[in-house]
Symmetry: C2
Subunit: 460 residues, 2 copies
């Protein structure tokens, strides 16, 4: 007898994971260490204390502890919106006439509108625990900023958000929602920081970038008493917190007697992808299973598919530590596409390492194709996806259509990271036929590579 | 041993109701019949055929069938977002320091953003089944329009939406989302209909009203071949479809060993309130239990608390049947408050009758107090409520604070009908301190009453 699989499966509160999973502990080769830009030496926790909370600095550098307990206060706020549903896309499958089984883990059922809340809560909690008086951060699409504003509001911590100017202008209501949760929101680049003023001086009409907003937020944090900086992607600690997405997916699929042949996630800095694939990557590394793991990035910002695997700064202003990662160069300024959350020059070091070693695939897709998939999906599954999430939908649909060709009944799992309620400008532009695809030329990419750091003895 | 109650309880798909509950069947005195405006006689199904689908016309007039099967195709789309969670507001309770137990049924976890989808799906399905070529409707806040656009997209039926001008201007992205789902959206009053032109001629600067948008949508439907009109509130059929909200709430509470002492819902036309309270009202009528049932309406549009229980038209243009209901008069034009979904001059006949007979209470609240409650709730429960829903939150908080005074451990259940992602203009106005409360004077109300219809032998 076939098991009856519901449209949406919610784990119970009791079934929610109480530990995060640290994928690094199972990696045969660890990601290369971050380097202190002043000394060129691997960073130690103390190097990170000026910027990060102590607990988070340790999580950042811990590559041996396999499971880390989630503090009770964090679990309490998680329960406001978790466990999130594992959805079976029956209606989409029918519309595609595919023999494939399509599942998605939906992280949009919370007010921040995305998976970003999973790490925001953790970071706000540790800041509170350490007695900080404030936090700074950057936001691209606004999802991370909203998530952190919500978390800081909950724990009672003041927050300043540097919002990439392109998004700030496209999404006025994202600003309002962060302000509703008590945050101060500043368009980046701004003249409130040295880094911002420098970027504005050299390029007054820039629409900003995540890398540049990071520089401003870090500067603001280190120059303000009692403040620290928090980041919603790229970092090891963020992927750690996001592992709850993968752990819940794994458990839910197990309950259904399923295991994915293909796992697909959109990839900007890697927060969602790293979290979603964590347990499946573990299985792949340990030889327990052999799923295909696919990163989907925008054609306009193709760090994995067209970038270099080298040491680079995490920010445009070059004040952060350097990380070994796939990067387009920290000075690369991607076009102002609508998936603002994917406009980052680099890729999480953990994912970069795994991709470099062949554990993961990557594809890049153009935004008009992405919105085509998004509106198709919305019609049948009754969820309006965020443009970022729709990158994964695009590839999931493509994989399902391949199954239609070959007749294979593959099990596809993708991450539906969030909702598109604050992206209606983008949807209108697609609807009206004014949306444009941006694909950087080799010359444009070369300019970014020219700005890569030189590190004596390591990277000449 | 106390039962451990989770923060969010999701029924399983198997536990979802497969029948709607028709409260009229259990009412000792039925609501007074709708009257045909041409003849002054009670309407029969055939009178409604020019406007409504046949099946819906029958549901509208059926006051004896207790349970009605939900068609399989409707259940299939329901499963995209139902069952919706019953939430225990642990964090809100703690913040209020109340001994009360606060529950809410959250209907916002779907792309339309509210409970409106429950009836939209049903009405779009029956239209499809009858072979119609298109539908028209009106929308106030935009939630009903979005829900119907989603449903019509799913079933493949063209849709024209008349959107109250106040909302159209305040919420540009509501328009975009309806268009993304393929709908045509027109600001009302418009010059596309006779009714609209008439209203514009007498009041060119009007910000519109639900009553006026209804006139336009009905006119458009009856003058377009193969089209019918659908309505998201007030009607008996809508309350019938919305009973799924109450049925799921009842079942979930039963599983937790709970029963509400107080049930609270916001009330515009009555769609949410009528659905939420249906099974609890049944218990009250049949003497099985005696919960308090409270309607919360805006002080600016107080149909229950300051209106008259008389026959009135459902629309401003006086082309619909007349219903016996609490009304401010079909010409009453409420101020453009932010809870656009509550700007209706009347109240569902079913609820009006029950209120008149003393089965239900009603309170009215001012919008600044409502947004105060909304932001407080968002902080602790991590959900940004729709302004409409926040009316219920205001009263739930007030009831919980009374419990704090008296020490009573009451069980409160309220309906959280939707999310406020498209209401950021309103939140900004509250945040910036520019929000104004509108309370109509007795003179203003009298003007509305002066426009009530005179019906020989029934209402002079």
């Amino acid at each position: 007898m076939t098991k009856k699989i519901p449209h949406r499966l919610y784990l119970t509160e009791d079934q929610m994971p109480t530990q995060w999973y640290n994928l690094r502990a199972d990696m045969n080769e660890k990601p290369d260490p971050m380097l202190n830009p002043a000394t060129g030496k691997p960073v130690i926790p103390e190097d990170l204390y000026p910027v990060f909370c102590k607990k988070l600095a340790h999580q950042e550098l811990d590559d041996t502890t396999r499971y880390i307990d989630i503090p009770e206060e964090i679990l309490e706020m998680y329960k406001n919106y978790r466990p999130s549903p594992l959805c079976r896309a029956y209606n989409l499958e029918k519309a595609l006439e595919t023999p494939a089984k399509i599942y998605y883990k939906f992280e949009g059922n919370n007010t921040s509108g995305s998976h970003k809340l999973n790490s925001a809560i953790a970071q706000a909690y540790y800041a509170k625990e350490q007695g900080l008086t404030g936090l700074t951060t950057e936001t691209g699409a606004g999802q991370w900023g909203t998530a952190l504003a919500e978390s800081c509001c909950y724990f009672g911590i003041p927050l300043t958000v540097y919002m990439v100017k392109a998004s700030y202008e496209q999404k006025p209501f994202r600003k309002s929602i962060m302000e509703t949760f008590g945050a101060t929101v500043i368009a980046s680049p701004s003249n409130t920081t040295e880094a911002g003023r420098k970027i504005l001086a050299s390029n007054p009409n820039t629409s900003g970038s995540l890398g540049c907003a990071i520089s401003e937020a870090v500067e603001k944090a280190v120059t303000t008493e009692g403040y620290k900086y928090v980041l919603g992607s790229v970092l090891n600690q963020v992927l750690l917190h996001q592992s709850i997405v993968g752990l819940e997916s794994e458990k839910a699929m197990e309950m259904l007697g399923e295991y994915p042949d293909v796992v697909i996630g959109c990839a900007g800095g890697g927060s969602n992808l790293g979290g979603l694939i964590a347990p499946f990557m573990r299985d792949k590394i340990t030889g327990k299973a052999n799923p295909r793991l696919i990163a989907v990035e925008p054609a306009s910002c193709p760090s994995l598919t067209r970038g270099k695997y080298v040491y680079d700064y995490c920010d445009t202003g070059r004040i952060t530590p350097m990380a070994k990662m796939y990067t387009l160069g920290c000075t690369f300024a991607p076009s102002p596409i609508h998936a603002g959350g994917l406009r980052y020059h680099g890729m999480a070091p953990i994912l970069s390492k795994l991709y470099h070693e062949g554990y993961m695939e990557a594809v890049s897709v153009e935004q008009t194709k992405v919105f085509e998939a998004a509106t198709f999906f919305a019609k049948y599954e009754s969820i309006l996806p965020a443009p970022e999430s729709a990158h994964a939908i695009r590839t999931a649909i493509d994989e399902a259509l391949k199954c239609k060709e070959t007749g294979e009944e593959k099990t596809i799992l993708f991450g539906l990271t969030g909702t598109g309620f604050f992206d209606m400008t983008a949807y209108s532009s697609f609807h009206e036929g004014t949306m444009i695809d941006h694909i950087p030329t080799d010359e444009e990419l070369q300019k970014g590579f020219d700005g890569l750091p030189k590190i004596p003895g390591i990277q000449e």
